[in-house]
Amino acid sequence: MAYVDDFPTDARIVRWNMAVAFLALGVGGLFGMIQALHRTGIFRGFVSSADYYTVLTGHGVLLALVFTTFALCGLFTWGVTRSLDRPLPSPRFTLSWFVLMLVGAIIAAVTILGGLVPSMPFSADVLYTFYAPMQAHPAFYVGLVLFVVGSWLAGVDWFRAYWQWRKDNPGERIPLQTFMVLTTMLMWYISSAGVAVEVLFFLLPWSLGLIQNVDPLLTRTLFWYFGHPVVYFWLMPAYFIWYTVLPKLSGGRLFSDPLARVVFVLFLLLSTPVGFHHQYVDPGIPEGFKFIAMTNTMFLLLPSLLTAFTVVASMEHGARQRGGEGRLAWLRKLPWDEPAFAGCALAGLMFAAGGFSGMINAGMNINYLIHNTLWVPGHFHLTVGTASALTFMAAGYWLFPQITGNRLRFRSLATIQPYVWFIGMTLMSNAMHRAGLAGVPRRTAEPQYDTVSFQGVVGGISEMRLQIAIGGTILFIGLVLFLIVIFGTWLGGDGNDAIRVNGSIPVPLSGPEHSPKILDNLKLWTAIAVVLIALAYGLPLWALVSDGLLAPGSPPIPV
């Protein structure tokens, strides 16, 4: 019995969430290729350089907000219902958050795309970070608000399922997948408060003319209060897959359930009090707070390094179950021709590289070398662009048959797709990192200046440009392959195939019975998280508002 047979209503919501996610991925990915060709000068015929920034805004919002969040909602709905073995409590409530998120996303997307059509009076060429005093059309902010509130309600839905299960199962450990969902959403509630305040109390009324000025540094700080933890909102669903599904794909079991819980608790605690590492070279923030953010950020390496151990150990266990032997030769026994496995494994491998380039970003004074250069997108295309995106795609290969009842179509395309993505991303990201070291700026339509010539650190600038264009094109090909497989699978059957994939997940080698009960004390961890945030942000925010909530103020400057 597949998931779609056991939970038909929830399977439908999972399908819709994943469909919206992958549609956003398709449009956002197309924009990405246009950008890669445009900024390298290879082909500028798609859009003008002014419209480049519209495309860039669309790329950021569709991929970093819409794609990631809808994918998370699909995966988490599946995970909660599966691990609690009960459907979500109210299909109508579930539908309402999905519709709210969808409407918000559509409003924001239409406002952004309006920038490409001169006859449309609305636009939002403000990029995914929408820094004041640049001002977008008020509808953009409204769309964002609806979207975020919808995601809050999704969390409520999963908590309700958990509370119902708890009534029937007092004293039992929270099933691992649900534990991960709940800790992720607690982190989300705490962190999205920052951007909610920024938009609801400042940017939206300001864009409607209800207030004259906002303090750009304050709104920027509120954004980055949210802007760092949001990357964990992207990463934790990927870890969710690596911990609970990848071991099974490898042929074995999760090495340690307790350590998985520790990792997610660490993310709940540490994700938010680090936001100043995005503002290392901002004026107006004293160095002491930047230093605290730096140390907190360095400790954020810990849960990821722990994950590396557990994930590799689980894969090794699986390989040995399949007959692998020797110190490293067991690697050969892993199912590298299975798209779901390959996608997750390659995503994890690439994440290791991304984590280390992130440590450079985190290195406070080292950040001077690469802030706002192309190094930064080089870094995050490895992390959200591969660790998250490729894992979600891999999960899609594994999950779609189970939520549609159709066998995976175009299997040979699926087999090569993760490798295509991996190669394309290596080429593009490697060149972006090198260009960043030379000082080439990010977020720029034409980084070729009359008065500035960049000096490459390793390799020449024009060779880097070519590599970015080639890498970006290969990535787009990889994206198209994925979409063909997924939509071909969804639309290619009537839901009654005998699917080959087995959705059951074996118990871990070291189960929850080996972990201290205190790990399940979500209230405690939330309280500690709030305290850490108060320590990291209390004084700086107080300093910023003490000279006036709206001062030093700037009026809106529409772009």
């Binding site: 002014a50 480049y52 699986g318 021709d337 299975e338 087999t415 490697n430």
Partner: protein, 201 residues
């Protein structure tokens, strides 16, 4: 479907189907190709970069060459206050160059030239086609019309250029009218312009 502990779920879901792979390649060969290229090429790229970094740090000419990141073009081109055609004995001074960023696909560029016919005969000065940095051009025509000796006129030429394009040069024509029956002396030049900063809204 809760976590199950029966043995059948320990195996990976998909059976070993050698003939399910494309063109009858064996599973083993397929994996070797995929992993070989798929991970091999990236490892090669990263390895070369790493070697390059080591060489740059420890080998190479050291960092004695504090490499310049500025180009030489800053000082060339006609800037505001300069004469557009120094070769004539009349003065054609670029009084202002304004490029404004406005919403939409095209931005207005306006060049204002102060022409002083300090010669003995009639004179005319025209601003024609504008050349952009990507070799595109925008047509236009602005003329002082025929100026008497001693007359001075200010003309402003406007071009609507693609948003984000950079003005590189402008075609100018100077017509020196003769006293008698001689032919008009025509001077046609493409004058390079210094950078015109874009002004925001």
């Amino acid at each position: 479907m809760t976590d199950s502990s029966d043995d059948s779920s320990d195996e990976t879901a998909t059976p070993v189907d050698a003939d399910d792979t494309s063109d009858g390649i064996s599973k083993r060969t397929l994996i070797r190709l995929l992993v070989g290229f798929g991970i091999g090429i990236p490892l090669l790229v990263e390895g070369l970069t790493f070697l390059g970094l080591l060489e740059q740090q420890f080998g190479g000419g050291g960092d004695a060459e504090r490499t310049s990141t500025a180009t030489d073009t800053a000082e060339s081109g006609v800037a505001v206050g300069d004469d557009l055609l120094p070769e004539t004995d009349r003065s054609e001074t670029l009084a202002s160059a304004v490029l404004r960023e406005v919403g939409g696909d095209r931005w207005p560029l306006s060049l204002t030239v102060e022409v002083d016919n300090s010669g003995d005969t009639d004179y005319e000065f025209q601003l024609l086609t504008l050349h952009l940095d990507d070799d595109r051009t925008v047509g236009g025509r602005s003329s002082t019309d025929r100026l008497d000796p001693g007359e001075r006129r200010v003309i402003t030429a406007e071009w609507s250029i693609p948003a984000g394009a950079t003005p590189r040069a402008v075609d100018v024509v100077a017509l020196i009218y003769p006293d008698g029956e001689d032919a008009v002396e025509t001077i046609e030049r493409r004058v390079e312009l210094a950078k015109v900063p874009v002004r925001g809204g």
